[in-house]
């Protein structure tokens, strides 16, 4: 019996562990070593060069542009997404007043939830192509066509260097909001109804209900949302690669690290240098996640 038990355990674990170690763990470990070499070109013989790739990164303008863009994404995208999603999920779940002692959502809330979540199931690459058509710089783009109707000249959403990153952030928010509406809705529905009832009897109005009751009780969910969105802000690869002019342009004004890693490796065949960027990206992501969990830690409210 005992023998059969270990054979069973081994039999069940062997295939997934081997697959995982070969395709996931071993590449991650190799990446750290490759980042210390000057590997260039598929058949070249890489040599160990210590931290040279990293010191070169310090002087790399494109690298710093990408890091700056992650900073902007990290500050703006999660905040805007969370604020819009919170607002909508409050409307959808709690703003319809009470009936039979239950907090209700607004009329039609189910339909709204289905529509809002829809972009989440579309592939980012496909959303990118879709918005390329929508953002087109002449009046054949939807937005410029609409602006034309009210007499505003076409705007170069993706070709103006100052505007392009913001246009891309807009698409990220467009796609993300629905997911967080559903997430926050789940959080809100787990808040006991009598909490709201008691508050209403005490004369709390909607803004008190929102800021003093809903928000604190939703803190855990918001923390999760923040980490998720932050990690998304360190990615953005598919959208920038597909949507932006010249992949990260105009003039590197929208480029992000994942795009530079991909381009450096597979367009320029500089594998060592690309891996060094990967290591930097890894440490940035980890630091962000750890910091967020640490800074936002609060006493859990049990209910």
């Amino acid at each position: 019996m005992r023998h059969g038990r270990y054979r069973f355990i081994f039999g069940f674990l062997a295939a997934p562990v081997i697959l995982y170690v070969v395709f996931v763990i071993s590449p991650y470990i190799q990446a750290f070593y490759i980042s210390l070499t000057n590997w260039k070109g598929i058949s070249a013989n890489p040599q160990f060069i210590g931290l040279e790739n990293y010191t070169r990164l310090l002087d790399d303008e494109v690298f710093w542009a990408a890091v700056r863009h992650h900073g902007v994404l990290l500050l703006v995208m999660p905040l805007v997404t969370i604020v819009i999603a919170l607002f909508f999920s409050f409307l959808l779940n709690l703003s319809g007043g009470q009936r039979g002692g239950q907090m209700r959502g607004i009329w039609g809330s189910k339909v709204y939830r289905v529509i809002f979540f829809l972009p989440q199931v579309l592939a980012v690459a496909i959303v990118g192509v879709l918005f390329q058509a929508i953002y087109r710089p002449d009046e054949s783009g939807v937005i410029n066509g609409l602006l034309g109707l009210v007499g505003i000249d076409p705007v170069g959403w993706l070709i103006a260097p100052d505007l392009a990153l913001w246009s891309i952030i807009g698409v990220m928010v467009w796609q993300a909001v629905g997911f967080y509406v559903v997430l926050f809705s789940a959080g809100m529905s787990s808040i006991p109804k009598d909490v709201f009832e008691a508050a209403e009897l005490d004369g709390a109005n909607r803004s008190t209900l929102f800021f003093k009751i809903t928000l604190p009780l939703l803190w855990d969910t918001m923390q999760v949302a923040w980490v998720y969105l932050g990690i998304a802000a360190f990615d953005a690869f598919a959208l920038v690669q597909v949507l932006s002019v010249d992949r990260g342009g105009p003039d590197n004004s929208t480029t992000v690290l994942p795009l530079e890693i991909w381009r450096t490796a597979f367009n320029f065949s500089k594998f060592g240098y690309a891996s060094a960027m990967g290591v930097v990206l890894f440490f940035m992501t980890i630091t962000f996640a750890a910091l967020t969990l640490r800074v936002t830690r609060r006493e859990r409210i049990e209910f």
């Binding site: 674990l13 199931v121 690459a125 999760v224 890894f282």
Partner: protein, 292 residues
């Protein structure tokens, strides 16, 4: 937002929520709904227009509805081929992910043996690493195995990268299931393997459904891995995201906008139909990861 302080005076009689607040809320919700539906509907309608109509005035309905752009997208742009490829790859990789993932998760959740925790943390640690870190070595691992530019290679890589979350989620799920049924089966002489497939898997169905949906969508929408792993001269093996992105790059020169819109619609509509049918399961499947 504007809140209506007068409304709290009569909490019991608030039958009609359409005050000034209600109207404004509806307006806000409606605007966002239009922002979501509008672009998709516009693309769909655009697939019936002629090039002249698209460049003339973007906000009109097509004069006549002709399907030839759909034919062009399907035949010339190979959207049909890409769809079949993607369905094949995602079906195989999701099935394999679920099989291997649930096996590993079950053993890690229900059997104690030396190294159990180590293997569990090895899997879970994979969730914290950005895939871009592994990109270069992964390309060479796949290449050295002779799997570059093959669907089989893509499938194995999809499975490997889906395992961390699948194992993490399912082992938590298996832990919540009662132990008594499985113990009774083992007492009766049922083998461990049979206990798993005939007793535990049916019991774990809700968790398995959620995570299957999660994996199908995640793998269907993958873009980075296909463009790296199917980067050679193998256009006939491309996946849908790759194919669409490529048409858009080429559309600038050939300027077949209706064709591009038809291709987009073809990629979006099946997903939309599946989503509308299974929206409840999809919403809970995708958000389940966040509720730990």
């Amino acid at each position: 937002m504007v809140s209506k302080p007068a409304s709290h005076g009569r909490p019991r009689r608030r039958r009609n929520p359409l005050g000034a607040f209600g109207a404004l809320s509806h307006l806000a919700l409606l605007v966002w709904a239009i922002l979501i539906i509008g672009p998709i509907l516009w693309t769909f309608l655009g697939s019936f227009k002629s090039n002249a109509e698209i460049f003339g005035d973007p906000i009109t309905l097509p004069a006549t509805y002709h399907w030839d752009a759909w034919g062009r997208a399907f035949q010339k742009a190979h959207i049909g081929q890409y769809m079949i490829n993607t369905v094949f790859v995602v079906t195989c990789s999701t099935a394999l992910t679920m099989l291997l993932g649930s096996m590993a998760a079950y053993v890690l959740a229900r059997y104690s043996f030396p190294g159990n925790r180590a293997i569990y943390f090895l899997f879970v640690s994979g969730m914290t690493f950005p895939v871009f870190l592994a990109l270069v070595p992964l390309f060479f691992v796949v290449r050295n195995l002779g799997l570059l530019d093959t669907h089989f290679g893509v499938i194995l890589v999809y499975v490997a990268y889906s395992l961390p979350f699948t194992v993490f989620f399912l082992s938590a799920f298996f832990k919540t299931l009662p132990t008594s049924v499985a113990e009774a089966a083992l007492m009766d002489g049922c083998s461990h393997t049979r206990t798993f497939f005939q007793i535990m898997v049916p019991m774990a169905k809700p968790g398995l459904v959620s995570i299957t949906i999660f994996n199908i969508l995640g793998q269907w929408n993958q873009y980075l891995l296909p463009i790296v792993l199917l980067s050679g001269n193998v256009e006939d093996k491309w996946l849908i995201t790759q194919g669409i992105a490529n048409i858009s790059t080429n559309a600038g020169y050939e300027a077949d906008w209706p064709g591009l819109f038809a291709a987009l619609s073809m990629a979006i509509i099946p997903v939309m139909i599946v989503y509308i049918i299974f929206q409840r399961q999809i919403q809970s499947g995708l958000t389940s990861g966040a509720v730990k």
